[in-house]
Amino acid sequence: MTSTSPTLTRRAALGGFGAALAMPALRPAFGQGTPIKVGVLHSLSGTMAISETALRDTVLMMVDWVNAKGGVMGRKVEAVVVDPASNWPLFAEKARELLQVHKVDVTFGCWTSVSRKSVLPVFEELNGMLFYPVQYEGEEESKNIFYTGAAPNQQAIPAVEYLMSKDGGEAKRIALLGTDYVYPRTTNRILRGFLKSKGIGDADIMEEYTPFGHSDWQGIVARVKRFASEGKKTAIVSTINGDANVPFYRELGNQGIKAEDIPCVAFSVGEEELAGIDTKPLVGHLAAWNYFMSVQGAPNTEFKQLWQSYIKNPKRVTNDPMEATYTGFRMWTQAVERAKSTKVDDVRAAMIGQKLMAPCGYEEEMLPNHHLSKPVLIGEVQEDGQFNIVWKTPNAVKAENWSPFIPENANRRR
């Protein structure tokens, strides 16, 4: 299903690189009327390909979409696809290549925090523009990056509030399970702070970290069961990353952990991930996102149709990072139109305050902190692998990329 980027792009890339390597004189002259170049920096091989290929396809879909509408400012948009192969230094190298060799005007890319951290210095040095579409740990703000995924306060905290509410089952003990990297660590740190403020002490919090792609959950799930059997209603908050989820949920199901007894809310499990799992044993477990495929309303129907017709597969699902990519791309086109220019500085200025009726059914706005205001939706897994939205915020929540629950943020440099 890995759809290929337009051959035109291929040739452009080829020429560009060859030129840069051997005969710089041949570098295509750049000026008005020439296509606007969009860099796509998502892993197509290696461990992250599982999640990132879909985003590559989403960007290519948007390129077709905008060209069908006559391009941006009447100029054709052209995608330059590279494969950083889930290799972080390669991300930095490819970022530099996109900016210096292919002279892209904007880049959509990255999934993991480490890949973003790896390219950030490059984008700042060369004053590029990156749209980062995945929910992340916050604690960052770069003038060269627009974060279209959720900040912790747009996902984690509302989810836990829900668990502690009457509808959520009034959880009094929380097991924080995560993959051992910065996003879970931060999120859980923030949650600890939040839970304390809600009067849940360390004795009632269990924290466990596992390596990437951890496949043997027997021990940990058993420990959670034990932890849950100490007289207080318990819930699991999972920041388990991609690959490790399938074995984890299988183990939950097999050890007979029912959502009514120990609900598990996940921040990294969306429709794409569920597509790889037999969801029958998981019905009732939760996920918190800013978008679900099951959202009602015109914007989402449009988005879903666009996707399924582009990918030529009526069964392919959409998910939150794809929606974030879509939203980011559309806001970018709006900003370019408004700025009447593709220059990074102009577009950046024009980006702030951009509004869009997003597929999630809310109007999202790009805030001065380069993050979006987003609604928080909580969905329950259904048998069909979709989410049944059981709770949502009345309106879009402003992103707090610097969480008040992390004391160090008080004395951070501005």
Partner: protein, 519 residues
């Protein structure tokens, strides 16, 4: 019998005060409201014990209850829930559930199903009440116990009663409830007791005694369960390593694409499952069917690899290693191109889901249990193939002395191809097992390759017994260390331990001479 119970049910209902019927109709509209209203009216319906509520609640649980904007409720078959009259379903939407409602439903259905003619249902009901116990359940349960005939169900009812009594005012009842829960010795019972501890300062000593006795039985159980987890991890390693034990152990071929053969097996499982989807009577058997399929596909790939490439590199194990690494890259990308980078769903058949309670209340997950069985079966199959078949004989002959075997008319090239295909096929079968516990994704294999090599080297190259012992030891040690060191460090410790062990005994646990031993 059945009728008698039904009659009993009806009697119970008639015995209820008249306003209950109004209460019933009064409770219904809530079901059309928000999650909160639904939950409360479900609780009311459950408390009323009105049999009419049963079909409604069942429909609700099955997600078949529909509601109109005006609050009228529809049962499946488009009959009005309140009146039982047929009604039109146009514009009606399903009543959605959330966990709170599910919880309420479980309790309510439990109470209503206590009178069910089906023992299994009554058992489920007892468990449900045990979970969502309340003081009001005490009389209902006592009645149920009195008329219960099935011993198993009775036992469950007694526990449920104890649970209910624990939250009821009667001190005396509480005391023997505590004792009974203590005797039950389950995690759930422990949970109740700890909960009750705070509420009943007068009974603390009694509760503590019960808790302690539960702890004792639990600790033994935990040890047993850890052992099981270790064995299950071990059996996974065994499956992953067996193929290597043949290709590397016997032939001395370092196949870095081994993991990819495992992955092929997993995808074969996926394909068989998809093929069976159409045929309902076949679907449940797709997993057993995919075992031979996976074997054949991986074996074919193996044969092709051996004939096409590896045989040109015999006597050059290091080149083979590098070359097969390249092959691995190609296979991975090929699968990614054909099936897409996303995980593929391989469902577990019903008989592999859930937990099995062994005597002594040791909980064992079905799929893991089956994988252990499968691992042993495959091991036996390999041994049999090598010991008792013509092919096995020729294989051993070629391993021991290629030239003489050749002079005796054994077509060594063919034997090499078959041996390698055999090893790869086993890897494929491992893939079937892994599809049940891990991602079916192009990267599936990479996670296992190093572990399998370590198992083979640790166990002793060329020795199947070594592979078995090696795999199980690693599995158990890993699981025993895990709670103390954490998953990662446990693994690191094991790796380091093996490295040290190998330099003590370079030939591994069960030293054996194979072509690899000389290289």
């Amino acid at each position: 019998m059945k009728n008698l119970l039904l009659a009993l049910g009806v009697l119970l209902w008639l015995a209820l005060p008249a306003r209950a019927q109004d209460a019933f109709t009064a409770a219904l509209p809530g079901l059309a409201g928000g999650f909160g209203d639904i939950a409360t009216s479900v609780e009311q319906l459950g408390a009323l014990g009105d049999p009419r509520a049963l079909p409604i609640l069942r429909a609700l649980q099955a997600g078949q209850l529909q509601k109109h904007a005006d609050g009228r409720l529809l049962l499946p078959g488009n009959t009005d829930a309140a009146t039982g009259q047929p009604a039109d379903a146009s514009g009606a939407e399903t009543v959605r559930l959330n966990n709170r409602v599910r919880q309420a439903l479980r309790g309510a259905l439990g109470r209503l199903q206590l009178v069910s003619p089906d023992a299994a249902e009554r058992g489920a009901a007892a468990e449900a009440i045990f979970r969502s116990r309340s003081a009001e359940d005490v009389p209902t349960l006592q009645a149920a116990i009195a008329r219960e005939t099935d011993a198993g169900v009775k036992a469950k009812l007694v526990l449920a009663l104890a649970a209910a009594q624990l939250v009821a005012p009667d001190e005396e009842a509480k005391r023997d409830a505590i004792a009974r829960l203590g005797a039950a010795g389950t995690v759930e019972a422990r949970a109740l007791l700890i909960e009750a501890r705070a509420a009943n300062p007068t009974l603390v000593t009694a509760i503590d005694i019960s808790i302690a006795s539960i702890e004792r039985s639990l600790s033994i159980r935990r040890a047993a369960e850890t052992l099981f987890q270790g064995l299950s991890l071990g059996s996974v390693l065994l499956l992953a390593a067996l193929g290597l034990a043949v290709t590397f152990g016997v032939m001395g071929v370092i196949n870095m694409a081994h993991g990819e053969f495992v992955m092929l097996g997993a995808y074969a499982t996926f394909m068989v499952q998809e093929a069976c989807r159409g045929i309902p009577w076949l679907a449940p058997w797709s997993l057993p069917l995919s075992v031979p399929a996976a074997f054949l596909i991986a074996a074919a790939a193996g044969a092709a690899l051996e004939r096409g490439l590896i045989r040109h590199l015999y006597g050059r194990p290091l080149e083979t290693l590098l070359m097969t690494f390249g092959v691995g890259m190609i296979l991975q990308q090929a699968v990614r191109t054909i099936f897409g980078a996303q995980n593929r769903e391989v469902a577990s058949p019903a008989w592999m889901q859930g937990t099995l309670m062994l005597p002594g209340g040791i909980a064992v997950t079905q799929n893991r249990l089956w994988i252990i069985v499968f691992g042993i079966a495959v091991l036996l199959l390999v041994i049999a193939a090598i010991r008792f078949t013509r092919f096995g004989l020729e294989m051993r002959a070629v391993v021991q002395n290629r030239r003489i075997a050749a002079t005796m008319g054994i077509r060594t090239g063919r034997v090499d191809a078959l041996t390698f295909a055999f090893g790869s096929g086993i890897a494929g079968m491992a893939g079937v097992a892994l599809s049940q516990i891990d991602n079916v994704s192009p990267n599936l294999g990479t996670g296992y390759i190093i572990d399998s090599f370590m198992v083979v080297v640790f166990g002793g190259v060329g020795s199947l017994a070594g592979t078995l012992v090696g795999a199980l030891t690693l599995g158990v040690v890993n699981k025993v260390l895990e709670p103390y060191a954490g998953a990662v460090l446990a693994k690191v410790f094991v790796l380091v331990a093996i490295m040290l062990f190998i330099q003590r005994r370079p030939r591994g646990l069960f030293a054996l001479k194979g072509r690899a031993a000389e290289s």
